[in-house]
């Protein structure tokens, strides 16, 4: 039960990361390496502020804003200085490594007794718990703390998802979707595609940093290495979500990214329980994403051959 709730809670926190990756990767078709740095940036800013005694709302908001700044820098490097998108992201990611170290002061910063969203939900959940700290959930006893965290994180992800859905149906949000589709058209309609891409990357990295800030509070510490592999992790969630919902509609894709993140976390939790070496986790994730990206094309090619027609790939 605690394994399930832990995975659900963690999956919901990382759903924000998946939504951020969805914005950069799927809406703008931009492989944004900045994300790996801004996860840690969000965690570092939030942790540093919490330890310094600031309230969780301020700390989390500041972390989100820091992510937006990181995304803006990548966007400016790419659109103003015509740097290759991948390289622009890598530069900012590398620079963030030092910046994060400065913010945290050391490579691992525990939150200790500092007040955070986790301690807040904990004290809220304790009101509903019995004297063992448990509540009844789906007919079983569950830790009120874990359940509270899951519900809190899920609500958070749901609200962000709804806000994104509304945003991408505004004029500027729709123009962003069109920019990822066809920047030439957006220029011909009088919008500055560079500005839209930069704003999109800022939004994406704000979400990623928000996820990092919540992750730090969830885990109880910020770590300099916590961003490594996060881009692929988010991508895996997005891809799972796409196959879960099987629709190209924006609303389904957004919900899919959240469900994908939770499901992927569950799969990982189960795999680790069955004896997967944690050291192999990133390798397995990378191979999974590779297969998910390549398989649909291979299947189509195979089908074409089986049907006797020439493969049109």
């Amino acid at each position: 039960m605690s394994l399930l709730l832990g995975a659900l809670g963690m999956g919901s926190v990382l759903a924000l990361l998946a939504l951020g990756i969805f914005v950069s990767f799927r809406i703008f078709a931009f492989p944004d390496m900045t994300a790996e740095g801004s996860v840690t940036l969000g965690a570092a800013v939030a942790a540093a502020l919490l330890v310094a005694g600031h309230d969780p709302v301020t700390a989390t908001a500041a972390a989100t804003a820091a992510g937006a700044v990181a995304g803006t820098v990548t966007g400016v490097l790419h659109t103003r200085f015509r740097l290759n998108g991948l390289l622009a992201g890598i530069l900012v990611m590398t620079a963030l490594y030092s910046i994060n170290l400065h913010i945290m002061g050391r490579s691992n910063l525990p939150l200790g007794e500092a007040q955070s969203f986790v301690t807040l939900t904990g004290s809220l959940a304790a009101r509903f718990a019995d004297h063992d700290g448990n509540v009844q959930f789906m007919g079983r006893a569950a830790s009120a703390q874990d359940l509270g965290l899951f519900i809190g994180a899920a609500i958070f992800a749901g609200v962000v998802c709804a806000a994104l859905y509304l945003f991408f149906h505004t004029r500027i949000g729709s123009a962003m979707r069109a920019t990822g589709d066809n920047p030439q058209m957006i220029r011909a309609l009088g919008s500055n595609d560079g500005m839209l891409i930069t704003a999109g990357l800022a939004l994406s990295n704000a979400l990623v940093a928000l996820s990092g800030a919540l992750l730090a509070q969830y885990q109880g510490f910020a770590d300099l290495q916590m961003g490594i592999g996060m881009l692929v992790w988010g991508l895996a969630s997005v891809i799972i979500g796409e196959s879960l919902t099987g629709s190209g509609k924006l609303g389904y894709l957004l919900i899919g990214a959240i469900l994908g993140s939770v499901l992927f976390r569950l799969l990982v939790a189960v795999a680790l329980r069955w004896g997967l070496d944690p050291a192999d986790l990133k390798l397995v994730t990378a191979v999974f994403v590779l297969i998910a990206l390549v398989a649909p094309g291979m299947v189509a090619q195979l089908r074409g051959r089986l049907a006797g027609g020439a493969p049109n790939a």
Binding site: R171, R187, A188, S191
Partner: protein, 270 residues
């Protein structure tokens, strides 16, 4: 009114791939004039349109449109004055957005975007009636992704998008060249109808001699980055495809003579 004065453009200057695409083009187009631009491959006709649209900065000369000097304006700023349809049907629309969403974005061409809803109540009906006027039966496909439509349908919609807000200038860059003959004919007819209805100032590049003689009130022929023929009024309306083909043949012969002369000079003096 569009005033092009002495614009020139050289690509890859100073390298072996140097191409002098425009060599001092002067062209003034009156308000409400529909100019057909023809020319051989590499004559600079598409480059001329792109120079006006702001795809690249010109090396020399100036471009004025509707009384404004737009020579230094970036592409997206010029788009407030200029509507465009491209040769490639994929260039003018965002494939994953619906027909209605594409047109709603076009209704904001050159205006600030803001956080308002893209499709507020009433927008759909307005868009639907605009599409109905195309007469292609697309008014029932408002919620289809535009990428699911055929090239001809997309070009017709791009044309509608370019003219939804009345542009000071409409640029059509071989916008029927990638279509099958029937769709091409349909799209060019719609084009002519919209230009006449809204009294638009337009430049249309075409490879079709038939289109060149049938449409427009003025014809400009480009060759080697310069305007070599400029016909209007009665001269334009009397024009037949054979006349144009003969002109092209003359240009080709002149080029051959030039090349032969250059070759002779090289052999004698180098």
């Amino acid at each position: 009114m569009l005033e092009i004065q002495g614009i020139s453009k050289t690509f890859h200057a100073g390298t072996v791939n140097e191409v002098r695409s425009l060599r001092g083009v002067n062209l003034t187009i009156d308000e409400g004039s529909f100019v057909v631009v023809i020319g051989t491959n590499g004559s600079g006709k598409s480059t001329l349109l792109n120079a006006v649209a702001g795809t690249f900065p010109v090396d020399t000369g100036s471009i004025r449109l509707a009384g404004k000097d737009i020579t230094r304006w970036p592409e997206h700023r010029r788009a407030a004055l200029i509507g465009r349809v491209f040769q490639n049907p994929f260039s003018g629309t965002a494939p994953h957005l619906t027909v209605a969403e594409n047109l709603a974005l076009a209704e904001r061409r050159g205006l600030s975007l803001g956080l308002g809803r893209l499709l507020p109540g009433g927008a759909r009906e307005r868009i639907r009636s605009g599409i109905r006027a195309l007469g292609m039966g697309l008014e029932d496909r408002l919620d289809n992704a535009i990428g699911s439509l055929s090239g001809g349908q997309r070009q017709a919609l791009t044309l509608l998008m370019a003219t939804t807000l009345r542009p000071q200038l409409l640029l059509l860059d071989e916008h029927t060249a990638a279509l099958d003959p029937r769709s091409a004919d349909q799209v060019v007819r719609i084009t002519d109808r919209i230009i006449a209805r809204d009294r638009l100032t337009a430049m249309m590049v075409t490879h079709s001699m038939q289109q060149a003689v049938t449409y427009g009130d003025r014809l400009v022929m480009m060759h080697r980055g310069q305007v070599v023929l400029d016909l209007r009024g009665a001269e334009k309306s009397r024009l037949r495809p054979e006349d144009l083909l003969q002109r092209f043949e003359e240009l080709r012969r002149a080029d051959l003579v030039d090349a032969a002369a250059a070759d002779m000079l090289r052999r004698r003096y180098v």
